[in-house]
């Protein structure tokens, strides 16, 4: 998982760093297919935009371990437990690639992580929702990873080499995650009425937050165009959201669940599904810290980091002593 377009301006307070000429040159080269590598000279605005997006993505991966991790101990079969453990481990791995890829831009992982723990960095809003029943694990795979794939496949072609390469591997794993989620739900939908109710309950809770993963509507997304010009973003939020809905509605029919939007309807003229209004107030509320689980998620990570301090210190002390011996 899980990039999300949050569209805030990294240089809002720092306009002097903008060097128009260098930026224009780079945008031109990127439009000709040039892939930027860490050794290349890059304008500050490009570098900071990448750091922001890539670190938000890395943070989303590591925070994203928590809602699903919530069900590892209660997974109902050994096979499902094994799949879920492997999936959450993949997410830790994605976090690690992405932090490492971000470090190629001249920032340290510790500094980025500190920004997350201190609430200065954002991560995908989706992880601030709780996982309340086992079907949530399936729905996260099906809808959340499904949305993430939609967002991320274009990034395998993005202009920054280390990010694009990390995304190739991540997308392969996400595609497995998506399928296991669908499979889990499909199995439950063949089960008892209580199980079917669990699936529907999970779909009802996750559908709208999943649509929000694509970020604000294009009309409200002031920096979308800029990211496109940098080759960091290839498609707009609304284009991606529409593709996701068009792909997902038939899957919901196959599963036998109802998507919680009475306005969801095929539009012959547009050749797309029409859908209802997204509650953007909720989106901004959750992104800015007032979602159902924001405090818990960061609280857990903060506590773990603080409680691990003596371990990291001991490892350093041992390494120093060993060097001296």
């Amino acid at each position: 998982m899980y990039t999300q377009s949050l569209d805030t301006d990294p240089l809002a307070n720092d306009p002097k760093e903008v060097s128009d000429k260098r930026e224009l040159e780079l945008k031109k080269r990127i439009s000709e297919g040039y892939v930027v590598e860490p050794r290349d000279d890059m304008p500050e605005r490009y570098r900071k935009t990448l750091i922001r997006q890539m670190s938000q993505h890395a943070h989303s991966e590591v925070v994203g371990m928590l809602p699903e991790g919530n069900w590892i101990l209660r997974a109902p079969t050994l096979k499902r437990k094994s799949i879920l453990l492997a999936k959450v481990q993949d997410e830790a791995g994605h976090g690690l690639y992405l932090y490492s890829a971000t470090e190629t831009l001249g920032v340290s992982r510790d500094a980025l992580y500190e920004d997350l723990l201190q609430g200065r960095a954002k991560y995908s809003s989706i992880f601030n929702y709780p996982t309340l029943n086992w079907a949530d694990v399936g729905v996260i795979g099906w809808l959340v990873d499904g949305a993430a794939i939609m967002n991320q496949i274009p990034l395998t072609q993005c202009s920054y080499g280390p990010y694009a390469r990390a995304m190739v591997r991540i997308c392969k794993e996400e595609s497995f995650h998506q399928r296991q989620g669908f499979d889990l739900l499909n199995e439950m939908m063949q089960g008892t009425q209580k199980q079917k109710d669990m699936v529907q309950d999970a779909v009802d809770r996750w559908w709208w937050p999943a649509l929000m993963m694509f970020g604000p509507e294009d009309s409200d997304s002031i920096h979308s165009e800029e990211s496109k010009a940098w080759g960091i973003k290839k498609k707009t939020n609304d284009e991606l959201r529409q593709t996701f809905i068009d792909v997902t509605v038939p899957q919901a029919e196959t599963l036998g669940v109802t998507l919680p939007d009475p306005q969801l309807k095929w539009n012959e003229t547009r050749e797309h599904y029409d859908f209802g209004k997204i509650d953007w107030n909720e989106f901004w509320r959750v992104v800015s810290g007032s979602g159902p689980c924001n405090k818990d998620r960061i609280g857990v990570k903060k506590k773990a980091w603080e409680e691990g301090a003596w371990v990291r210190e001991a490892a350093m002390a041992h390494a120093m002593k060993s060097k001296g011996r």
């Binding site: 590591v62 371990m65 928590l66 991790g69 590892i72 101990l73 209660r74 997974a75 109902p76 079969t77 050994l78 096979k79 499902r80 437990k81 094994s82 453990l85 492997a86 959450v88 481990q89 830790a92 791995g93 976090g95 690690l96 932090y99 086992w134 889990l184 199995e187 439950m188 063949q190 089960g191 008892t192 209580k194 199980q195 857990v300 990570k301 506590k303 773990a304 409680e307 691990g308 301090a309 003596w310 371990v311 990291r312 210190e313 001991a314 490892a315 350093m316 002390a317 041992h318 002593k321």
Partner: protein
């Protein structure tokens, strides 16, 4: 699968297989509790990996137990529908993770013991257990490598880490006696598996001694305490582990997962 005509032998073989499966499953369940909250991201990945390995070992063993038993239909019935007294894991596997030092010491002591056990099973007459042992051994070697390094790092690192390691040994060491104490299951299988607990203990001490020395810690002396999880009499902790682990299967019988 080995064909055994003697029914009592077969039931001992089932007991041993279940003991190994339960130990791996419960150790995996405990290890999974670290997921998302380890001291570093690398460690998060490593501990999840160990949990996955142990779970894989448990599943192979449960699958063999299903073959041996004939009454239960799959691994999930064994894992999710038995009560605590029917679980036969070594007690140390169910003990709380405590802090990172306690988890590392527990995994170091347990994985070195598992290694000795897998090695002995390689010499046995039971071909299924031999195959499982050979596969598990590779994983266990890695677990030992991982946790022995942490044991040394923490033992040698700072005053704080050393105190925590010493405290963890003090807590965990008495539970290691169960590995080698009176064992009617193993003695009844001696003709089939040729496992001698005396030799097992000597091998184990040999395996951990150097690591203790490198960490600058003396091997503790034996205690009088003898835990009995391998016979189904557990600590208070197992009931809680199973209540959580078995919750869905117990609350929604007849479901498809």
């Amino acid at each position: 699968m080995t064909t055994i005509t003697d029914t009592s032998k077969s039931s001992y073989l089932f007991s041993l297989t279940i003991r190994l499966a339960d130990s791996a499953l419960i150790a995996s369940q405990r290890m999974s509790q670290w997921c998302g909250i380890a001291p570093t991201l690398e460690e998060d990945i490593a501990l999840t990996n160990v949990a996955l390995d142990l779970l894989g070992q448990a599943r192979h063993l449960f699958s063999y137990a299903v073959d041996l038993d004939g009454c239960r239909k799959d691994e999930d019935q064994l894992a999710f529908l038995r009560d605590p007294h029917q679980y036969l894991n070594y007690t140390i596997a169910e003990l709380p993770n405590g802090d990172f030092a306690q988890s590392c010491t527990k995994s170091f002591l347990f994985s070195t013991f598992s290694q000795c056990l897998w090695v002995s099973l390689l010499d046995g007459e039971d071909s299924t257990l031999r195959d499982i042992a050979a596969k598990s051994l590779k994983e266990t070697d890695y677990h030992i490598e991982h946790f022995s390094r942490w044991f040394v790092r923490l033992g040698d690192g700072t005053d704080v880490s050393r105190q925590k390691i010493l405290k963890s040994i003090d807590y965990l060491w008495p539970y290691t006696a169960e590995f080698f104490g009176n064992d009617r299951t193993l003695s009844n299988l001696e003709g089939l598996l040729h496992i001698n607990t005396g030799k097992l203990q000597a091998d184990w001490v040999n395996a951990i001694e150097d690591v203790f020395t490198e960490a600058g810690i003396d091997l503790p002396s034996d205690s009088d305490f003898m835990s009995t999880g391998k016979y189904g009499v557990h600590s208070e902790h197992l009931g809680h582990i199973l209540a959580e682990m078995q919750y869905l299967q117990r609350s929604y019988p007849g479901g498809r997962w």
